[in-house]
Amino acid sequence: MISNDPPPLFGSWRRAYCFALGVFAIEIALLYVFTVRFS
């Protein structure tokens, strides 16, 4: 691997991780709504 990586897309990796967790939280919320609506 190359040590001098370009700067990450989200400004910092913490923000990238938060973004991924945020998307995941939305997915879980949608699945919960789906469960409540259809079962």
Partner: protein, 551 residues
């Protein structure tokens, strides 16, 4: 299958490896062979990681799982995003800084040679067996339904993978996986579209989902705290986290995928891509199973999806019993079909339970007749739907999807098994200080050897449970201990090699004993094994190996 299907199948499964061979032609160094010259971008890494995890079992068994039990299996993946972020934050920079070829090299640098060998050994056992299941699972189903010879099917998938993986190493695995997963996506999307299209025209998609929900197939999230339930939100978050952390952080078949990245950034984005894509992808595959379930509420399903096994039982003088059950099944289906739109959820569930009971009785007769199949009937649901209800050409494409999934998952596994054996065992123990090219050839030969082991396991495999679970159970038994080794290495700086080595051995024995004596969800063994290594290593370090620290 007709001629068009065979053309589509053969063209698809041959074209991708041939393109990969063309892209990776030329002599390679060990670094190129094991890490793919580290020029691979994050998109390819993301698809490669996805393809490695999503083997044929995912596409064959998971729709059947939803058909039988609903889409609750999705919860198994809830721990994965947390695990992938942990791997991005902790594992990737350490592996990158130390420039290791395998994850177990790190254990050797942090602890000692015996701990490195133990980690690699546990991986080799688990993955060697799992590779056999990966090849066997689709082969047994395809050979049963298409009338192909079982061993020929195993050798067709296994032989092709061995050839191109041994030749091209990590780079060919990543390149072929990118196209194989694209074929898989296209095939599954078309199957989903056709399943929905084949439902009655007067049923809107919303009504379709309502009906599936009424029949108990759409409970995606279950917050129950009952440990006996196999799939709950909590077992998914905690057990799934440890399973995924072990898999992505300590399983060489995945570590090798992201070590091939052009940069740390590429590796991390490839993993984060999986963190956000995995749950929706699995949801759609499970929803496909629920749609097939609904389709078979309007169109009469076979009483037993593994029809060749059923026909063997008929031929073995069990015809009258099975005919009786078939007429009962037809009668229950007709009542259920008539009540579908108007009946309450309880009435439909009762009728469904009646139909299920008749199917269970059929299975009992098949077992008594000695025609019992070696896999769960649910594994035959999706492929039966494909063979009986998809147009020609599409059938060939969907069979190619199964082969692509088999080849992509097996290629990553063989690549990792060959690499770990060469780097962790052969180079330090048998032939240190040989020229670089010698290790490339050794790794190629070891990859072929592991391929033959996997084919051997596949040839003699006897599965006892649902294929999807067999793979996960096998992983859960070993992964906890392997992950424990890495977590001790990262977080318990005072623990030395001997303490963690014996702690891992004790933890592995504990997990095996618990597995044979308890009936808890298998995901918990990841947590138990991992916590046991952490606890035992601290205790051993502070008691038995206390002097070693002072010395």
């Amino acid at each position: 299958m007709n001629r068009l299907d065979y053309v589509v199948l053969i063209a698809t499964i041959l074209a991708i490896p041939l393109y990969g061979l063309w892209r990776t032609r030329g002599r390679e160094t060990l670094g190129h062979y094991l890490k793919g010259d580290q020029s691979i971008r994050w998109g390819t890494i993301g698809l490669s990681v996805l393809a490695t995890q999503a083997g044929p079992i995912t596409f064959l068994s998971m729709p059947g799982q939803a058909y039988e039990s609903g889409i609750g299996f999705i919860q198994n993946y809830f721990g994965q995003p947390f695990a992938l972020i942990t791997v991005c934050a902790i594992f990737v920079p350490i592996f990158q800084r130390l420039k290791v070829y395998t994850a177990y090299e790190y254990l050797g640098q942090r602890f000692d040679q015996k701990t490195r060998l133990l980690g690699a050994f546990l991986f080799l056992i688990q993955r060697g067996l799992a590779a056999g299941i990966t090849i066997y699972a689709p082969a047994i189903i395809l050979s049963a339904l298409l009338g192909w010879h079982l061993n020929l099917t195993i050798w067709l998938a296994g032989g092709l993978v061995i050839a191109y993986t041994a030749f091209g190493g990590t780079k060919i695995v990543s390149i072929t996986q990118r196209y194989q997963i694209l074929i898989i996506f296209i095939g599954m999307a078309l199957a989903f579209g056709i399943a929905v299209h084949r439902l009655p025209a007067n049923l809107s998609f919303g009504n379709t989902l309502s009906l599936a929900g009424k029949m108990g197939k759409l409970q995606a999230v279950d917050f129950s705290l009952n440990p006996d339930k196999r799939y709950t939100f909590w077992s998914g978050i905690f057990g799934g986290f440890f399973l995924a952390l072990s898999y992505f952080g300590a399983d060489q078949s995945q570590v090798q995928r992201y070590l091939a990245g052009a940069s740390v950034t590429a590796s991390r984005f490839g993993l984060l891509f999986n963190a956000v894509v995995k749950v929706p992808m699995q949801f759609l595959i499970l929803l496909l199973g629920a749609m097939i379930f609904l389709f078979y509420q309007f169109e009469k399903p076979p009483i037993y999806f593994n029809q060749p096994a059923y026909e063997r039982a008929v031929a073995l003088e069990h015809g009258s019993e099975l005919t009786q059950l078939q007429s009962e099944f037809d009668e229950v289906f007709a009542r259920k079909r008539a009540a579908l739109i108007s009946a309450s959820s309880d009435e439909l569930l009762k009728l469904d339970a009646e139909a299920r009971s008749i199917r269970d009785q059929t299975k009992t007769i098949l077992e008594r007749a000695g025609a019992s199949p070696k896999s769960n009937d649910a594994d035959y649901v999706f492929i039966t739907f494909v063979l009986q209800h998809l147009p020609h050409g599409m059938v060939g494409l969907l069979i190619a999807v199964i082969f692509c999934a088999t080849m992509s998952a097996t290629a990553a596994t063989l690549n990792a098994l060959g690499s770990a054996t060469a780097v962790d065992f052969y180079r330090p123990l048998i032939r240190p200080n040989a020229p670089d090219h010698h290790y490339v050839v050794a790794t190629q030969l070891l990859t072929i050897a592991w391929g033959l082991v996997a084919i051997g396991v596949a040839t003699f495999a006897n599965l006892v449970e649902n294929l999807i679970q067999a793979g996960n159970i096998l992983g859960s038994i070993f992964y906890g201990s392997i992950l424990g080794l890495f977590l001790v290495a990262f977080f318990l700086r005072s623990v030395r090699g001997s303490a963690v080595f014996f702690a891992a051995l004790l933890a592995q024995m504990l997990v095996l004993v618990l597995f044979w004596t308890l009936s808890i969800s298998y995901l918990w063994y990841n947590l138990i094994g991992c916590v046991a290594v952490l606890l035992f290593s601290v205790i051993l370090q502070r008691t038995v190996f206390l002097e070693a620290v002072g010395a």
